[in-house]
């Protein structure tokens, strides 16, 4: 096996595919970008050409109000890039449209995961573990203390609290792209079919999900309703609105947040969260390490989070690994 890999280079603002002169998830505008998914720290606007799944392109169009240079690639499809590089988009299980990108050149295989998780998610197809030579993995929850509990347990916690306070509402802070829709879909799966109220900032993304076939049940806008209407209901908002004046219009909200960080008590306290829901769209420690073992790459490149602990794990398990210092990847809201 060749171990040259000089054709792919981690740079501070993205991963550079040299012969094709294009970038994976660049943090600044470039001529040609391959984008893994629609979260803002991966999908910047302003690229000359953007190659992504149709769902990701739709999300980017919604966010940046333009679809110039959009080049769709479906899951399992391969696109030929200049310089003899093939790019294949494989489901990553993170959010709607999220993909890992398999890059092949001169017989060498590199996978860039973007963000991923291994749990079932009613809003997107599951992660597919794919063998490769270099595995570029995220490490958002790359510490052994992160074990995400089964989502059913968290839904039960939420619904129990709601039932105990029929005169109040539960306000759930959730990332506007992905987490909010997944929580709603899981609530429906758990048998909660009451209307769910939305902060205005979530409306368009929920509609986009529904247009892509993800059923979310009856959704209502907080702005169209009175305090009385919302007693005993679940209200969803982006995390930034949790402690905002906006929430004063709600009936004595119980503050909840759906995030992998909620595993740590003080993180929940810092956010003034009364009901922490440990729900993440990222792989937890067990899933990260299991995935590294499964894809069994010649070398692992670790980025996007707590690289040092995952590097240590690789060292303890005799796996080659290095940390990338990419700019601007920090996910405080997941």
């Amino acid at each position: 096996m060749s171990t040259d890999f000089s054709w792919i280079r981690p740079e501070p603002h993205g991963i550079h595919i040299v012969p094709a002169d294009c970038w994976v998830d660049p943090s600044r505008a470039v001529a040609k970008a391959l984008v893994t998914h629609g979260h803002a720290d991966h999908a910047r606007g302003g690229h000359g050409q953007t190659v992504a799944t149709p769902e990701t392109l739709a999300i980017m169009k919604l966010r940046y109000a333009t679809s110039d240079g959009a080049t769709p690639v479906g899951y399992g499809e391969t696109i030929k890039l200049p310089g003899g590089v093939d790019a294949t988009y494989i489901p990553a299980g993170h959010v709607l449209g999220s993909a890992q990108i398999l890059l092949e050149h001169a017989g060498e295989r590199v996978i860039v995961t973007g963000d991923y998780k291994r749990r079932a998610d009613p809003t997107c197809p599951p992660f597919e573990a794919t063998p490769c030579d270099i595995f570029v993995t995220e490490a958002t929850f790359g510490l052994p203390l992160f074990t995400h509990p089964p989502i059913e347990e968290e839904m039960a916690k939420l619904l129990d609290r709601l039932a105990a306070h029929p005169e109040r509402c539960v306000l759930v802070g959730a990332y506007a792209l992905g987490k909010a829709q997944r929580v709603i879909a899981e609530l429906r799966r758990a048998g909660h079919h009451e209307p769910i109220y939305l902060h205005g900032a979530l409306e368009k993304m929920c509609r986009l999900y529904e247009e892509h076939g993800v059923g979310l049940g009856e959704l209502r806008l907080v702005a169209d309703h009175t305090k009385e209407d919302m007693r005993g209901a679940i209200v969803m908002c982006p995390p930034s609105a949790l402690n905002d004046r906006w929430s004063r219009r709600l009936p004595e909200p119980i503050t909840a947040m759906a995030s992998g960080w909620m595993r740590v008590r003080q993180r929940a306290r810092q956010r003034n969260v009364e009901l922490p829901l440990v729900i993440s769209d990222h792989a937890d420690w067990g899933e990260l390490t299991r995935t590294i073992a499964e894809v069994d790459a010649y070398e692992n490149w670790i980025t996007h989070g707590r690289e040092d602990a995952l590097l240590r794990w690789c060292q303890l398990h005799q796996r080659r690994a290095r940390a990338l210092a990419l700019v601007g990847y920090e996910d405080e809201d997941d």
Partner: protein, 530 residues
């Protein structure tokens, strides 16, 4: 343990004081004896298990988790007990949680030798929340936003009794407080504390700030720079209590057989020297007193070199008579009359500061720095002695702090509520002329004096200006100036700069000031007074 663990979790996630009181009160009402007594002790920091320390937990974990991964996790979480509760390898079997009393019994039975075997067995019987509650309980100091006062208030609320009464009985009883529950929950006679040397809650002062008081109504006293203590003599036993109600008798054995009659006195503990109030017998600076603090045993040499005495402020009980309801002037006369019966070797009386009017008093306070005292106390002459802080009775009027401009050098992540923030700052002064290549030398460390908003900005500054990382510590590019306030500065061999500040805090963040304009070491050295 399940209910107790659920209570601990609920308390962690509750901000409202009222809601915390409600949760604890509900638990106390619904839980049988003696479980609730032990839980109350745990919440009010009344439990100590010498065999279980934070280091015990660390060692247990390092046998089960790679040490590097342990340290990285601990740094992220900011709390040893919580990190261990999350990282403890789960068994496949269902949890089999013991009761609170059984848990306490098992923890008490552990020795340093048995703890590495017995504690894991206990941890294996609990889930993550249970492990957190257990480890918090075992290491003392729950640090979950519940003060011992709050726990007592919740107790009072649960059984509709007076919190002041609870305070009085509290220090005469030991966990699980059988007599306290018998009285409050079961309507039996109150605990008998008359012949017990128990602690009475201190009367405290508000900062004076912009208030101006009339000296016809208020008396002024020096605020001495030692530690506030309460001396209690009852049932042929003397005890020394610190401000928080900790029994520090063992640290000051020379005070234990010098009180000849049953009494409770309030005063400032000092050691002999020449810097404080020379004409009143003379006390050493706080730096000298520090040699005596925190020791469990005291050598003869220590006793001879730094003899302790108490400068008395007030009397609460005189020969068994409770005088707390009497006005300050009456208590003061009782105290003055007592002085003749107390040995001069161990007691003197804190004098009343005479001033013509408030302005004159302000002048006297200005000149007080040379006497190395903390400032002035103003006490309303008709004030009874009341537990806690009551508006309008007592004021403290500290002298203005000293100020120096320092440069931020290192930052460390905080713990608890600040676990993800770089909130502990080490700062330095220039060792010469910065324009001729002088270096910064660390002179102190502070983690208070800024708002939450400022903390966020400081945290961002540290993250964006890091030049080096040493585990949890970041070295910054030394571009930010702090105006640091502190009470005094002393020689110290512990620091490279040879100086140590007393109670440094961030006074202002000088985002505008270039670092080369910060102060030099000599400027700080010139402020030494002892």
């Amino acid at each position: 343990m399940e209910r107790f663990a659920a209570l601990v979790d609920a308390l962690v996630y509750t901000r409202s004081r009222n809601e915390k009181l409600r949760l604890i009160a509900e638990y106390l009402r619904a839980t049988p004896d003696p479980d609730r007594g032990w839980a109350l002790a745990a919440l009010s920091d009344g439990l100590d298990f010498p065999a279980v320390k934070s280091s015990t937990i660390r060692n247990l974990m390092k046998d089960r988790v790679d040490p590097v991964l342990w340290t990285l996790s601990r740094d992220f979480v900011g709390d040893t007990a919580e990190t261990a509760s999350l990282l403890w390898p789960a068994l496949d079997s269902e949890p089999d949680p013991p009761g609170v009393s059984d848990t306490v019994e098992m923890l008490s039975a552990m020795t340093r030798k048995s703890v590495p075997v017995d504690l894991p067995k206990l941890l294996d019987r609990l889930d993550a929340s249970g492990r957190y509650a257990l480890l918090k309980l075992a290491t003392g100091g729950m640090r979950i936003g519940v003060s011992s006062r709050l726990a007592k208030t919740a107790f009072a609320r649960a059984f509709e009794v007076s919190v002041d009464q609870v305070e009085e009985y509290w220090h005469g009883l030991a966990p699980p407080y059988d007599a306290l529950f018998a009285w409050a929950a079961h309507g039996e006679a109150p605990p008998d504390i008359e012949n017990l040397p128990t602690f009475r809650p201190f009367m405290l002062a508000h900062p004076l700030e912009d208030t101006v008081v009339d000296l016809a109504e208020y008396a002024a006293e020096w605020k001495w720079d030692g530690i506030r203590v309460q001396l209690v003599r009852a049932g042929e036993e003397t005890r020394v209590y610190s401000r928080s109600g900790d029994d520090i008798s063992a640290t000051f054995p020379e005070l234990l057989d010098v009180l000849p009659f049953p009494t409770v006195l309030d005063g400032e503990l000092l050691v002999r020297g020449s810097t404080q109030g020379g004409e009143e017998g003379g006390a050493a600076s706080f730096n000298a007193l520090q040699q005596r603090l925190g020791r469990k045993t005291v050598s003869k040499k220590m006793l001879a070199e730094f003899p302790a005495f108490v400068r008395l402020y007030d009397a609460l009980l005189v020969e068994g008579e409770d005088v707390r309801e009497q006005p300050w002037t009456a208590r003061r006369s009782r105290l003055e009359a007592l002085m003749a019966r107390l040995p001069e070797s161990h007691f003197d009386l804190s004098s009343v500061v005479q001033a013509r009017d408030f302005e004159h008093l302000a002048e006297i306070r200005e000149g007080s720095r040379d006497d190395a005292i903390e400032g002035l106390m103003l006490k309303r002459k008709d004030s009874p002695y009341i537990a806690g802080r009551r508006v309008g009775y007592w004021y403290k009027w500290k002298r203005d702090p000293l100020l120096v401009d320092c440069v931020l050098m290192y930052a460390q992540r905080g713990s608890g509520k600040r676990s993800s923030f770089f909130s502990d700052y080490t700062f330095g002064c220039w060792d010469g002329d910065p324009d001729s290549g002088a270096d910064l030398l660390p002179v102190g460390k502070a983690y208070s004096g800024f708002t939450d908003e400022e903390l966020k900005r400081l945290d961002r500054h540290v993250r964006q200006n890091t030049v080096n990382r040493f585990g949890p510590v970041r070295e910054t590019d030394k571009s930010l100036v702090f105006e640091v306030a502190f009470d005094s500065v002393h020689e110290s061999k512990r620091h490279k700069s040879g100086l140590a500040m007393r109670f440094p805090r961030i006074h202002r963040i000088r985002w505008d000031k270039p670092p080369h304009e910060a102060d030099r070491i000599e400027a700080l050295r010139a402020l030494i007074r002892d």
